[in-house]
């Protein structure tokens, strides 16, 4: 499980470019920062009000006035800045975030995203996810391919929608899938995983990329 998450995080890190402003969602997406390629310097935004997030503090050295959107204590790097929520979502909604990495309950063929509730069961609320999914320039979903064996990549969402047609890339422990106007395109499979295994774990139709590749699971 943790291995799978790190595989996903490492692959997503390759999608980020030097100088990017990036918002990393809570949980798996946060791991992406650990795998940035050499020479790629990004500015991490956290929507509770900070640019320049720089990982966790040493135990006992936490600043009580400094957390990320997951409620975890953080440190900041030199050149960081703090701001209020209205400013923070101006940054997000205004298209000033180059990429956001978000988790998902479901994604569908049209790039629709469901991430904020399972009616009658799990209601967490959208937090900043609706704004991030609407405003960031590139929306990357980092998620396990299935949930207890059930596909999360569907023809059509079954859960309440969080944002319409916004997802650009889906990265799981099995595959890298791009959302195109024609539908979902399988771009890469994980080393040791077959296309058939990916298809079996995916409800949505998958088009094959002409230059289908593999990605590392080390």
């Amino acid at each position: 499980m943790d291995d799978a998450k790190n595989i996903i995080a490492r692959r997503i890190a390759q999608e980020l470019h030097d100088g990017d402003v990036v918002n990393l969602g809570i949980g798996l997406p946060t791991l992406v920062a650990n795998y940035l390629p050499q020479g790629v310097d990004i500015t991490i935004q956290s929507e509770n009000g900070v640019l320049g997030v720089n990982g966790s503090p040493e135990k006992g050295k936490e600043d009580p006035d400094l957390i990320n959107a997951g409620g975890k204590h953080i440190t900041v790097r030199k050149g960081s800045s703090y701001f209020d929520t209205a400013t923070s979502f101006g940054i997000i909604r205004g298209g000033h975030v180059d990429a956001t990495v978000l988790g998902a309950l479901e994604v569908d063929e049209k790039g629709n995203l469901a991430s904020h509730m399972v009616p009658g069961k799990m209601v967490s609320g959208m937090g900043g996810a609706m704004d991030l999914a609407t405003g960031a320039k590139k929306i990357i979903i980092g998620t396990l391919h299935t949930n207890s064996g059930k596909p999360k990549i569907l023809k059509n969402l079954t859960l309440p929608i969080t944002a319409v047609g916004v997802v650009k890339l889906i990265v799981t422990e099995m595959a890298v899938i791009e959302v195109s106007p024609l539908g979902l395109v399988l771009k890469e499979v994980a080393e040791g995983t077959t296309v058939e295994q990916v298809k079996a774990a995916t409800e949505a139709e998958l088009l094959m990329s002409p230059d289908l590749g593999t990605f590392s699971v080390q």
Partner: protein
């Protein structure tokens, strides 16, 4: 210049049952923890709470939810306090989920005298239900209306006796917008200084918005 410092009991005595209260903070960070405790101690009930989240179990706003003194919350996230979801599904607590950026803009609109804002966030989702939409240059927007409250309670790092307040690090969050959108604004802070001690450049909540200041005796 008016000195607005009062004790915390006097402050919560002004809050009646049934009041709507904006509570600043983000998962307890920048939250007025002592005022929340004083509201609980006094037994004020039937509250409508407007806040980013409903706290983390055992911390901040979650105490009000656990005590069942809240009838409605307008908030962006309840995942860190499962009790909110439980009461919602049991039908004893009304929960209106508002996207975080939209919540900030709606509160800002009320404070800034705007009739509302057009946002692309929430188009095509449940959030759009019952809301007017406008299409401008081929893009669809929701018309989001102002949110006001009877009270706003804020958690500042430093405040002067007139109410000018500074919020360190990520404790700013909803504090500035909420200060503008409530009839009565109460600031809680561990550090009270005289007017003139706070650099006018770092004032994030302006004294003219603040009605009362109370001293906190702990970090909550």
């Amino acid at each position: 210049m008016k000195n607005k410092v009062i004790n915390i009991t006097e402050a919560v005595d002004r809050i009646p049952d049934g009041a709507s209260i904006m509570i600043a903070g983000f998962l307890g960070n920048g939250t007025p923890h002592n005022i929340i405790d004083a509201i609980l101690a006094k037994g004020i009930k039937n509250l409508t709470i407007i806040a980013n989240d409903t706290g983390i179990t055992g911390i901040g706003i979650s105490k009000l939810i656990a005590a069942k003194v809240v009838k409605k919350v307008m908030t962006s996230h309840i995942g860190t306090n499962p009790e909110t979801g439980k009461q919602m599904m049991a039908g004893t607590l009304e929960v209106e989920l508002v996207p975080q950026g939209t919540l900030a803009e709606r509160i800002r609109s009320a404070g800034a005298g705007l009739g509302g804002v057009l946002t692309p966030t929430g188009v095509g989702t449940d959030v759009a239900h019952g809301k007017q939409t406008l299409v401008l240059n081929g893009k669809e927007y929701l018309l989001e209306l102002p949110i006001k409250a009877d009270f706003a309670i804020l958690g500042a790092t430093i405040a002067d006796t007139f109410g000018n307040s500074f919020f360190n690090g990520t404790t700013k969050n909803f504090n500035p917008v909420m200060s503008t959108a409530a009839d009565t604004v109460i600031v809680e802070t561990a550090k009270i200084v005289e007017p003139g001690e706070l650099d006018p450049n770092i004032v994030m909540v302006h004294g003219i918005f603040v009605d009362y200041i109370v001293r906190s005796n702990s970090n909550g």
